[in-house]
């Protein structure tokens, strides 16, 4: 029993350090740093690189100082200066996706720098082999250091935030950034410091936890992600409650680990953080801001014409028919994979794009769909698709019930916890899912078989197109208007007689059913599937990048989903054919997510604006009497916006003269730092 307490306290101490870092960045910038775990992981790798005798072999104290006082804070400062400062008035989904993009990019970067195949990295414990006896339990020096560090961090943060001028300024900036600036505080400097401090704490957690766990990119990131549950106990604001959350999490994990054999399989060390996050989100009261005073979502909801939609759909199906003759088997495999992913990403368009309900779990529902298809439809019986629709729809509706009172970040975290739970506890229960060999048959429509690659690819294209028609019809109709109304103003909807509960349950169920069907079709294309295909971060098809690329394409656009699915599937292939681009392709999903800081409406909307602008310009050239200002940049500018601005090139710092060459108002505004969102909100 004393073992559990000691191990529990050590886990709790690490979670407390990590979670405090999350709280510090959230309270000062209002942005939840999904990349916190990745910063911890990267810092641990940097520390290994500096200190290990297999690498640079610097003395441990010097390596520690360089990692925790130079690298991690520097990274935090850079993250704030280059990305987070631009997000103050961004739509809720953008504020979530940019840090997720960073998370994915940092994992990719670490994988490129320290390839797991060639670099066998591991960190030793501090003072390896030394321990002291506490009540009959041998406590290692490393464990002792972890405990003392947590106490020092807790006391230090309390003093910093409540007894120093910097702490007061940090709290002022989160309350009202503009007002703090008017009172002589530099919000940028303060938020930069907060991010530096938050990332230093993440780095500290990484360096402390890496010796206990393996030095592995995904494992280490996910373990620090567990700290989310602890931070939510303190509602991302209270440090003492966060420490309490860390204590509950640490002790529960060790208790569950100790009694693992007596517990049902769905309660394990892997599921405890997800279950705790789920419980905390349901039990902890939400901010009043969830109903009133939400930042308005300025994102566009495209409304394409029917001829365009039908024409594009027909072209896609025709392309799917001819593509098997044009490309290699490997490319064909990726294209099919991309189309299936596009169907899964499309499930987010009505839910998130129209209705503003953020979900990070589309791939978990896809996994359920594939699991159902594998269990009952391994022979390709299409009637099983009805079971997929029904079961995924019901599960989606059930998940939406606790989600009804949640919005924005809280809702994202709830769906995150659900996805983690499905990955760790539900999918492994299905035959063959752990080994990745669960068979899924290709559909046989009562004699019309889709067994050949061509037939199956056409089936995927037809399914995407039909779903696309359905989603477009939804957009143009009554339900589409109601979803958009709910996204913009739940309060107004309720006072006009809209039953928000019913609408949310319906759209969650619809989205889950679509994702489930996408998963079932994906299983058929691949032939066999496993947990790896539907995991959040690990494996060949990570769930977070899917959400990310759906948003990058344009979360409210059918074409955006197609773009997201195809890019995620085809990008690695480009890296294989052209090795010079391999690293870039690995980084692409993350970088694309980060680019949303500059391009919140998504690539499709931006490209379509540019296209319209070009057409309009031509007509203007023909009729010079008409004045027109381009709503967005040229295609070259669109491409430039997909890549984040280099260090030091923040809008405020560009010389006014540099604006002279800009050809449109949008670029000009960005350069002189004009903030139309805020102007409008205050008008």
């Amino acid at each position: 029993m004393t073992d559990i307490i000691v191990l529990g306290l050590v886990s709790a101490a690490i979670y407390a350090v990590a979670a405090s870092g999350l709280v510090v960045t959230y309270t000062t910038s209002g942005i939840f740093n999904f990349a916190h775990g990745a910063v911890a992981m990267l810092s641990a790798f940097v520390y290994w690189q500096l200190s290990s005798s297999d690498a640079w072999g610097l003395p441990v104290p010097l390596a520690l100082v360089l990692t925790l006082f130079v690298f991690a804070p520097g990274l935090g400062w850079a993250i704030d200066a280059l990305l987070m400062r631009r997000l103050h008035d961004a739509a809720p989904i953008t504020r979530l996706v940019v840090p997720i993009g960073l998370l994915v990019a940092l994992i990719s970067a670490a994988t490129i720098i320290w390839p797991p195949d060639t670099v066998q990295a591991s960190l030793p414990f501090f003072f390896e082999g030394k321990n002291i006896d506490v009540a009959g339990v041998a406590v290692t020096y490393h464990q002792l250091i972890v405990l003392i560090t947590a106490i020092v961090v807790a006391v230090g943060l309390r003093v910093l935030l409540y007894a120093t001028r910097i702490g007061t300024a940090m709290r002022a900036v989160v309350d009202n950034r503009d007002l703090a600036a008017l009172n002589g505080v530099s919000p940028d400097r303060i938020s930069g410091m907060a991010w530096a401090l938050g990332c230093a704490l993440a780095g500290l957690a990484g360096v402390l936890i890496a010796p206990i766990l393996a030095l592995d990119q995904s494992q280490l990131t996910l373990l620090v992600i567990n700290a989310y549950a602890a931070a939510m106990v303190g509602r991302l604001r209270s440090l003492p409650l966060t420490a309490l959350g860390a204590l509950i999490l640490g002790l529960s994990r060790e208790t569950v680990s100790y009694f693992a054999e007596d517990l049902p399989t769905w309660i394990s060390v892997d599921t405890v953080p997800a279950l705790m996050l789920f419980a905390v989100l349901i039990l902890v009261p939400q901010d009043k801001a969830a109903v009133f005073g939400q930042p308005k979502d300025p994102a566009r909801v495209p409304n394409p014409s029917w001829p365009l939609v039908i024409g594009s759909g027909a072209a896609l199906v025709a392309l799917a028919y001819v593509i098997p003759d044009l490309v290699s088997d490997k490319t064909l495999s990726s294209v099919g994979y991309g189309l299936a992913l596009a169907i899964i990403a499309l499930s987010l368009v009505p839910l998130t794009g129209y209705g503003g309900q953020i979900s990070l779990a589309p791939l978990a529902f896809a996994g359920l769909g594939a699991a159902i298809m594998s269990t009952w439809g391994s022979d390709g019986n299409p009637l099983v698709l009805l079971a997929v629709i029904a079961i995924c729809g019901v599960v989606g509706a059930l998940v939406s019930l606790p989600a009804l009172r949640l919005k924005g970040l809280y809702l994202a975290l709830l769906t995150f916890a659900f996805a983690l739970f499905v990955e760790k506890a539900v999918l492994p229960e299905f035959n063959g899912f752990t080994q990745g060999v669960a068979p899924v048959g290709r559909l046989d429509f009562f004699g019309i078989s889709t067994n050949s690659d061509r037939a199956n690819l056409v089936l995927l294209a037809v399914a995407f197109v039909l779903f696309g028609f359905f989603v477009t019809a939804l957009r143009k109709g009554r339900v589409g208007r109601q979803l958009q109304a709910m996204k913009t103003s739940p309060a107004a909807c309720a006072t006009l007689g809209l039953d928000l509960t019913a609408l949310k349950v319906q759209v969650f169920a619809l989205s889950a059913a679509m994702a489930g069907l996408g998963g079932a079709l994906y299983g058929g294309w691949r032939g066999q599937v496993g947990v790896e295909q539907f995991a959040l971060l690990q494996g060949a098809l990570p769930g977070l990048p899917l959400v990310l690329l759906g948003v990058v394409g344009g979360i409210a656009a059918v074409a955006g989903a197609l773009f997201g699915g195809l890019v995620l599937a085809v990008a690695p292939l480009i890296g294989e054919y052209y090795p010079v681009f391999k690293d870039f392709m690995l980084l692409l999903p993350g970088l694309a997510g980060i680019s949303l800081a500059n391009n919140p409406n998504g690539a499709i909307a931006q490209a379509s604006d540019s296209f319209r602008a070009i057409l309009h310009k031509r007509s203007k050239d023909a009729d010079p009497g008409e004045e027109f200002v381009e709503p967005a940049g040229s295609m070259a500018e669109v491409m430039a916006l997909m890549i984040p601005a280099p260090a030091g090139l923040v809008p405020e710092q560009i010389a006014v003269g540099a604006s002279a060459g800009a050809t449109n108002v949008g670029v000009l505004d960005r350069e002189v730092g004009l903030d139309w969102g805020r102007c409008h909100a205050n008008s």
Binding site: D297, T488, C493
Partner: protein
């Protein structure tokens, strides 16, 4: 008999009593004003009546029926509509679709919703901008759109929260005429407004709130003479003797 009645409603936010034992009543065809300084509890009272805020204590009755436990959307369906002090338009929809969405939610609507939307937009004077995105409107036009959207619910009671702020003089006059016309048609209107001349001109009855409590209640003339109201809110007319 009043169509809408609040009985001793109170709202407490932690240690702060935002609304304290407020009684209000509005009859069909009547325009009632709810006035008072900022922070007096006017918007909170509206939130309680429309179901966006649960009262700590007290009852709300519509046509004599207790609706205190009804959710916001059910109250809307039983005939209470409102506008907001902080604009709550559906910004990504067009002006016409804002009204259309409300009409579609109105289960008693027998006519084509498109026609209803066009008619209401014409009535509030927004016909020319019906295909614009709602978040592109000026504040004054946006308030008129909120009114049109609320009317699409065919309410029996209309709650207007500072509807004239952002309107110019001409717009305000037309707006007042429209409200009086609606009241003549039998609509009960409860209005929160800081434009005192407008309130005095339109309202049949006024209730003055201060620090969450009813300071005075009566006809506009009675309120104008009430010393407590003059001290707390209206102030002295510099031209008046004494």
């Amino acid at each position: 008999m009043p169509i809408l009645e609040t009985q001793e409603i109170s709202v407490r936010f932690g240690g702060h009593m935002a609304v304290n034992s407020v009684d209000l009543s509005v009859e069909a065809g009547e325009i009632c004003g709810l006035i008072g300084p900022n922070g007096a509890g006017k918007t909170t009272t509206f939130n309680v009546i429309t179901g966006l805020q649960a009262p700590t204590r007290g009852r709300i009755r519509l046509d004599g029926q207790d609706i205190t436990s009804l959710s916001a959307h059910k109250r809307a369906r039983s005939g209470i509509a409102r506008t907001f002090q902080r604009l709550e338009l559906f910004g990504s929809l067009t002006v016409r679709d804002n009204v259309r969405t409300a009409a579609e939610l109105n289960r008693t609507m027998a006519r084509p919703v498109g026609d209803v939307a066009d008619e209401l937009l014409e009535r509030v004077g927004l016909t020319g901008v019906d295909n614009q995105r709602a978040d592109a409107l000026s504040t004054g036009s946006a308030r008129l759109l909120e009114l049109a959207r609320a009317l699409a619910c065919t309410p029996r009671v209309l709650l207007l929260d500072e509807p004239a702020s952002g309107l110019d003089e001409g717009e305000t006059d037309r707006f007042a005429d429209l409200l009086m016309e609606l009241a003549r048609d039998g609509l009960a209107i409860l209005i929160v407004e800081h434009d005192v001349p407008l309130v005095m001109r339109m309202c049949d009855h006024l209730t003055v709130l201060n620090f969450g409590e009813v300071l005075a209640s009566g006809t506009p003339k009675e309120i104008q003479k009430n010393q407590a109201v003059l001290d707390a809110y209206l102030g002295q007319d510099p031209g008046a003797p004494g």
